[in-house]
């Protein structure tokens, strides 16, 4: 039992100086009230429609997980094809994806995290076409967690003392309960989240199997949510085991049926990766020669399905599926 003497103020010991995406819990609530469907309304549409409707130039975007693992790649490709501009990217646990988005001319700002900093990213930085603000992976997912709770900030136990702190939106305050210096970080409410899941119904009730990064916080924290799914399942199936639903329909604005959307990466329980193309994208991004990859896999096709048809083929898809032998906990 403790009674701490009450300070009339809390000291702010240090503040990061970077711009951060607007924090407006009440405004977010009003967006939810006015835009999120609480009725069970079918939301199936193509990747093209979903991106046209729900991704705007200048949007702050987050995605789960990354290009190589349960990546929402059909949607990422479509965003590049539609040449969305000046996106602000949540660069947590990313790998090749930021380099691709920068190479495709879609990115304006990045909150990092982690991303492969490639020649094209460095060129964009040097040319003043890209700004980077500094966080770390967990700090980014905790920012999303705060956004997913509708609160303006959250205390954390890491990030203090780093130079990232100075180039971020974090603050060091004196905790009014213990009197100890404590870092708080600003909530993150992206404009749009794109998330690839194993199963969803047409309303957006989504099942995710295996480990993840921040699927659920991203879905709750974002104003617009596009879910792509390996399989569309019936709502009866959802109701038969409510314990498997990770994201409820009311968070979701668009549902895209997208088998093999994670190609060339893996979707656990569904298919293994295509190692040759994984190495191809990795090498081309790392070397700054991302254009040929984008030309072949993104701009040279009109849709994800066309890409699978033209560039991949049945034999390879079946082989990827065959090599994914682990099922426990990954299939309903």
């Amino acid at each position: 039992m403790t009674t701490v003497s009450e300070p009339a103020t809390i000291e702010v010991l240090a503040s990061g100086t970077a711009p951060y995406h607007k924090i407006d819990p009440d405004g977010f609530r009003e967006w939810v009230r006015d835009n999120k469907q609480r009725a069970l309304v079918p939301k199936l549409m193509t990747e093209k429609e979903a991106v046209q409707k729900f991704v705007a130039d200048g949007d702050y975007i987050t995605y789960e997980c990354n290009y190589l693992t349960r990546g929402p790649n059909s949607l990422l490709h479509e965003i590049m094809r539609q040449q969305k501009k000046n996106l602000w990217i949540a660069g947590k646990f990313t790998y090749v994806d930021v380099g691709m988005l920068v190479g495709a001319g879609c990115a304006g700002k990045v909150d990092t995290g982690f991303f492969l900093c490639t020649p094209s990213v460095r060129q964009a930085l040097d040319a003043g076409k890209l700004e980077v603000y500094e966080y770390s992976n967990v700090i980014m997912t905790m920012r999303l967690e705060a956004g997913a709770q509708g609160i303006p900030f959250i205390p954390v136990r890491s990030f203090g003392g780093t130079d990232g702190f100075n180039h971020s939106g974090a603050k060091l305050i004196t905790d009014p309960y213990t009197g100890q210096p404590t870092v708080i970080i600003p909530a993150l409410n992206p404009d749009v989240a794109i998330i690839h899941v194993q199963q969803a119904d047409k309303f957006g009730n989504a099942r995710i199997f295996g480990t993840g990064i921040s699927d659920v916080p991203a879905a709750l924290a974002s104003r617009k949510v596009i879910v792509s799914a390996e399989e569309i399942i019936d709502t009866e199936e959802i109701r038969s085991n409510p314990g498997l639903t990770k994201i409820p329909y009311w968070c979701v604005d668009a549902v895209v049926e997208a088998p093999f959307a994670g190609y060339p990466g893996t979707v656990p329980g569904y298919y293994a990766s295509d190692p040759a193309v994984v190495m191809e994208v990795f090498a081309s991004v790392l070397r700054g020669a991302v254009e040929p990859y984008l030309e072949k896999w993104v701009f040279g096709v009109n849709s994800h399905q066309e890409m699978l048809e033209k560039n991949v083929g049945v034999a390879k898809l079946l082989d990827m599926r065959k090599r994914e032998t682990i099922r426990g906990g990954l299939r309903a």
């Binding site: 992976n137 997912t141 003392g161 780093t162 130079d163 656990p268």
Partner: protein, 279 residues
Amino acid sequence: MTRAEAFSEREVAMCTVARMVENGRTYWAAGGGTPLYSILLGKKLYAPEAQYVTEDGVIAPEPMLPYEPMMTMLAARASYRALAWGTMNTAGIYSQLGYMDYGVLNTLQVDRHGNINSTFLGEWGAGGRRMHGPGGADTIAACCWRTILITDQSKRKFIEKVDFISSPGYLDGSEGARERAGLPRNTGPWRVVTPWAMYDYQDRRLRLMARVPWVTVDEILAECEYKPLLAPEIQVLEPPTEEEVQLLRTELDVRGQTTDAAGGWIVWDGEKYIRGGGD
């Protein structure tokens, strides 16, 4: 255990870390490269009851090896037979709560006080070379009880003061600096392991404590930008065994992407270890 006849520098560091892995302790492996492979090697050979998490919140898996390229987290083989599956905040929260004994990570630069730079070479915002950022390493370095850093022995890496603190060491080295910055009490850097040497800390300053047999202390110091503290007696590390390198090559880093990424080779000529090409 049999002496390994030939091995790469990177393999040396991984084997050294593997031998530090303890039963009944928890490890957070940064990313999916040398830290993860070092822990797996230690778990397979020396400490089967060591448990680990990765950034995707997998808890105590028994992964199906080898991994496919770049598929060391989130993939089915990587999270196979875990005791629980979580998310990045799972890993973050357990480390905030003090459940993670050791963090194992790697870096581009480390300074006298164990601060880590993986963000920027040069002056931030005023020209220089942007790198990939801390990833999960910031939280590992902040919240695990002890952190083990793996890096290469090079003047460009062992520097007086990092250009940018991506993940915290002892900050300015003063007592209580971490606590004043909001970090948990009694945490911080513990060991640095390179292909040539091992370091600990004395009064929050890096101290050389051991070397491999084929490198002298002077050679090590020549690859530090500043002179670290020296332990009263510099121990000699055991070289890799045949079991270790075989396991590394056949089950873990089967494509050699991690172990061969840097450093030369060391060969046993029947009497002594000889440093070969590469570097």
